[in-house]
């Protein structure tokens, strides 16, 4: 039995179709990424998967339990971090966690132990009795994730968990996601950050305008959208672009001003070759940038394929 099974899931707001007949499965123990630009329908989908809003048609099964027919039972085994959610700022971190425990019917003793563990793990223990309104954004987000873990869920839903956070908190949350996954939790993660999806996910669904363009492992997706990345370089002297064409992994070379734009599947390797080339020819590299395609680019490329 898969962790999540989605059939024909559709949501309309008036005449506008936000989520358009989605079909996919999330396997047990994987980190499944839902990658798409703003307005793609990620949050709407996540809300339907977690029973927060009702779909217009279609079915969602959480560990085989139909979330519409048996919402309480399905919700009991999942953890949810909504996109713009908040802890109760007038309550302490501790009381927020205890409130969650009570909502999930966790016995007091177990709840105390679990809250202590989670506060330690998220480095919030010292502040456990402080009201949440005194917390920084990163601390709040850590607490919200801790709240979603109080019931020790089998499946964790995270809707853009790192959006708007500083580098340090982002890093911490990413590490936490990997660790939770290692402990055996299935994770459904939405993001608009390709790099984040790439780093964390076993499989990624690319979504836009409520449709899934592709579902695949990150590396395989990259292969399918190859040649969209480019390296921009300029040297202190003009160079013969045919030298560059000879480099490995080049898809195309374009000249723009004194800069050269090298389209490639492997920007990292290209950089090595460019450094070697400059040494060999006694050139100095003036600028060197690597660029990744936007999500919109990828989506267009992927939908062209279909």
């Amino acid at each position: 039995m898969n962790a999540i099974e989605v059939n024909n899931l559709t949501k309309q707001f008036g005449n506008f179709t936000a989520v358009d007949h989605l079909d996919f499965e999330v396997e047990n123990g994987e980190i499944f990424g839902f990658l798409g630009p703003n307005g793609a329908g990620k949050t709407t989908t996540a809300r339907m998967l977690t029973g927060i809003i009702k779909p217009d048609s279609g079915q969602v099964r959480i560990k085989g339990i139909d979330i519409q027919q048996n919402p309480i039972k399905a919700k009991q085994i999942i953890g949810v971090v909504p996109e713009l959610s908040n802890a109760y700022t007038d309550l302490s971190a501790w009381n927020n966690l205890q409130f969650m425990a009570q909502l999930y019917g966790i016995p007091n003793k177990q709840a105390t132990k679990r809250a202590e563990e989670l506060l330690m793990k998220f480095d919030l223990y010292e502040r456990k009795d402080h009201k949440v309104k005194t917390f920084s954004k990163g601390m709040k987000q850590k607490l919200i994730i801790a709240m979603s873990l109080m019931n020790d869920p089998e499946i964790l839903f995270l809707d853009e968990p790192t959006s708007g956070l500083d580098v340090r908190s982002t890093r911490l949350i990413k590490d936490m996601v990997l660790e939770l996954n290692k402990e055996g939790k299935t994770i459904f993660l939405t993001t608009h950050d390709m790099e984040e999806a790439n780093q964390l996910c076993n499989r990624i669904a690319v979504i836009n305008h409520g449709n899934i363009a592709a579902i695949d492992a990150p590396e395989k997706l990259k292969m399918r959208i190859g040649g969209l990345e480019w390296v921009e370089v300029s040297f202190n002297m003009p160079v013969d672009s045919s030298d560059l064409h000879a480099m490995q992994g080049i898809v195309e070379v374009q000249k723009s001003g004194d800069k050269l734009r090298l389209y490639t599947d492997e920007p990292g390797r290209m950089v090595y070759q460019l450094v070697d080339y400059s040494r060999l020819n006694d050139l100095e590299i003036m600028t060197l940038n690597t660029m990744t395609p936007t999500l919109e680019d990828i989506f267009i490329k992927l939908t062209e394929e279909i």
């Binding site: 309480i72 949810v80 959610s85 908040n86 309550l91 909502l103 019917g105």
Partner: protein
């Protein structure tokens, strides 16, 4: 999942509400100050018996306090974005509303002790304490459920909900036999009074103090139960509709 589980979770929601909302501005203003001043404004200088006054004050207090907590919760949690968390947890909308209602009920019952103690201090005898207790509890539930109907407006503005609820509550005070006994009203006034739940709790208070009731105890109690059921069913239906619009 059993009903007992859901009731326990409702109680958890009540405790949360009590910790957060009892001291919020709108609750204090609309629940405590407003009825106190309204009462003073209409009573000063009028020569009415003390037990009549206290019964009216008690009815009004339960009415205003019980309807002041529930309307604050939903818009506030919409605005502070706590609602989605709650909607994601394994509790039904009925459970959430029950929790909110319970917090409101306890507030109503607690504050209603003030006019009762005031009455006792002024020498008012409570002839039927048991009936009074039942009446207060029942009325608190009834008015809390009424407050839930106001709060189903899908807004994050507490002031909007408070305005709507005041527009309904204010006229009710004048048609419910608080300032003029129902028996002394003209026929149309009596008809109007009979559609207000506030009439029945005030009448029950009058019965409990000095047996100057207009309706029989059975009629008043049944009426309050009926209003409670209607309000609760309506509240659940309305909130089921409005919750997705709040996210």
């Amino acid at each position: 999942m059993t009903m007992i589980d859901q009731l326990k979770r409702a109680w958890a929601i009540s405790k949360k509400d009590i910790m957060i909302y009892y001291l919020k501005g709108p609750v204090i203003i609309f629940g405590l100050l407003f009825p106190a001043f309204l009462f003073l404004a209409f009573m000063i200088g009028r020569d009415l018996p003390v037990d009549f006054l206290i019964a009216g004050l008690l009815g009004m207090t339960i009415f205003f306090t019980s309807t002041s907590v529930t309307p604050v919760i939903a818009p506030t949690e919409t605005q502070t974005r706590n609602l989605e968390r709650l909607a994601a947890s394994p509790v039904s909308i009925t459970t959430i509303l029950l929790g909110d209602m319970l917090a409101s009920v306890l507030f109503g019952i607690g504050i209603s002790l003030v006019p009762i103690l005031l009455g006792i201090a002024l020498g008012v005898a409570i002839t039927h304490p048991f009936t009074l207790a039942v009446a207060i509890v029942l009325a608190s539930f009834c008015f809390s459920a009424m407050g839930l109907i106001f709060s189903s407006t899908p807004t994050s503005m507490t002031s909007t909900v408070m305005m709507i609820s005041t527009m309904v509550k204010f006229p009710l005070v004048f048609i419910s036999g608080i300032f003029i006994p129902v028996g002394e009203l003209p026929q149309w006034g009596r008809t109007l009074a009979s559609i207000s739940p506030l009439t029945y709790i005030t009448d029950l208070c009058r019965y409990s103090f000095q047996e100057t009731n207009y309706y029989s105890v059975q009629v008043s109690i049944s009426a309050l139960i009926m209003f409670l059921i209607i309000f609760m069913i309506a509240a659940v239906k309305l909130h089921e509709k409005s919750l997705p619009k709040r996210l």
